[in-house]
Amino acid sequence: MTEPAAAVTPVWVLDAMCLSHFARAERLDVLRDLLVDKECWTTQVVLEELRQGAAVHPVLSDVLAGDWFKVAHLDTLDEVRLFAIWVSRIGSGERDLGEASVFAAAELRSATAITDDQGAVRVARTYGLDVHGTIWLLAGACRDGKLSEPAAGSIVDALRVTGLRLPCTGAELPGYARLHGLL
């Protein structure tokens, strides 16, 4: 008789865009609750980007104080090398460095990277990384029964107000998610 396979906890690495817009929309606690059954990571580079951003948006300090995610420092030679490889694919602008660090951390952990930067998503997928955006995250929460569709829609609208570019409005979310097989 074989032992039942142990449930594997999904590992996700969140980028600055995801964390900062949830914080600015005052929904950081919602994000934390939605991801409670995930092993969540972000990177030191992302936190540094948010630290800089806190000068303009003080609410970003809430992210820095968070204890529900782990922080990848990328501090072994192999990790730093992988980070540099991703920088050479994504770019070296401030936001690009954050994305590159997220992809390096995700690759090292065979994890899912979460970002809504479409240019970065396209490149990361070319190299075989599992990358998804906020709509995928919220639709998944609806599918798992953690969030109602209207509640997810209201989060989408709140995030759009903060300037996050998303492919649908809150009202369009159910239709969009079904179109892409997420619901």
Partner: protein, 329 residues
């Protein structure tokens, strides 16, 4: 700190690497890739002392050169750029006369006769050398690493000088490695640089062009020389030097004409137009630029990275829209 990192006594994390590369003004991967041992540099005389302005300039030039080498290597590793064979002299070049003959041989190898070189970046690329024109002090530098040859040319200074520098750096490639050629053993650095200047001058404006322009006259006229300088897009000083070498200009005329370069109105009068600068809007070689675009189209690079690799030749707005529209969520 670097010594400690190298010896394994200190770890560096991604954030420190970013800060370090920012302070040194080099790409993030610069400190992690190998650095070629031998670089050639066309600049002032570099002294042994590190803390001089000239040495610092030379250091920056070397950093720019190695960073450029890494960029070319990245495109090769991605499979979007196939470096062609390097054009190398078949016999040792140990005199200015031999260097001038070599320049004509290079022209022939690249399918050119005596016509003006339209784009020097394109010509160098066909000879196997990728030239980057960039904001860096000094004049130029080049290196060969394996089967990849690259050069950087400073955007500062006049356009004619830039072409001369690019041609000089091509000379380094074609003549051969400075420390492995016969020349390097016997000749001083100054002699070797003079030899490469002769190569560059003959490549840009072959002496035969000057003698043909003079025709049956005793000497070339100033208007004729201005016309050649415009068509061959060379500096006035190089035109005078080549004319003197070709024997179509007296020593007195060289001195007199050398006191002032032709003005725009003199160019207009002599040829009806003012020369357009080479190596200005075009910062990277054409096949390299195509490779960057190909890498971007295939999703191997973001638009932001593609723009970085194009060194100011394009902006994000120049890239076709649509490739980075919303993808599957």
């Amino acid at each position: 700190m670097i010594v400690k990192i190298e010896s394994g006594n200190r770890r560096i994390d991604a954030m420190e690497l970013v800060r370090l590369s920012s302070a040194l003004q080099v790409p993030v991967d610069f400190l992690l890739r190998s650095t070629p041992l031998v670089l050639s540099r066309r600049t002032g005389v570099v002294t042994e002392e590190a803390d001089t302005e000239v040495a610092r300039e030379a250091g920056r030039l070397d950093l720019a050169l190695v960073a450029w080498l890494h960029e070319v290597q990245q495109l090769i590793e991605l499979g979007v750029l196939q470096p062609g064979p390097l054009l190398r002299a078949e016999t040792p070049v140990n005199s200015q006369t031999a260097a001038r003959e070599l320049a004509l041989w290079v022209r022939k190898q690249l399918g050119m006769d005596l016509e003006a070189i339209d784009s020097l970046a394109e010509m160098c690329e066909r000879a196997g050398q990728y030239v980057l024109v960039t904001h860096v002090r000094g004049e130029g530098a080049s290196v060969v690493e394996g089967d990849v040859a690259v050069a950087v040319v400073s955007l500062e200074g006049d356009p004619g000088r830039r072409r001369a520098t690019a041609a000089h750096e091509l000379g380094h490639l074609v003549v051969g490695d400075e420390y492995s050629s016969d020349l390097g053993v016997h000749a001083s650095r100054a002699d070797r640089e003079a030899l490469l200047d002769a190569f560059a001058a003959e490549l840009l404006l072959p002496s035969q062009v000057l003698t043909e322009e003079r025709g049956a006259a005793e000497a070339i006229s100033r208007d004729q020389l201005i016309g050649l300088a415009a068509r061959y897009r060379i500096s006035w000083s190089l035109a005078l030097r080549q004319a003197a070498h070709a024997g179509v200009l007296s020593a007195q005329a060289r001195r007199d004409w050398g006191r002032s370069a032709p003005t725009r109105s003199e160019f207009m009068e002599a040829v009806g137009w003012a020369p357009q600068p080479d190596l200005e809007a075009v910062r990277v070689p054409p096949r390299y630029a195509h490779a960057v675009m190909e890498a971007w189209r295939r999703g191997l690079l973001t638009a932001a990275r593609a723009v970085e690799l194009m060194h100011g030749q394009i902006t994000a707005a120049d890239l076709p829209a649509g490739a980075e529209a919303y993808l599957a969520p």
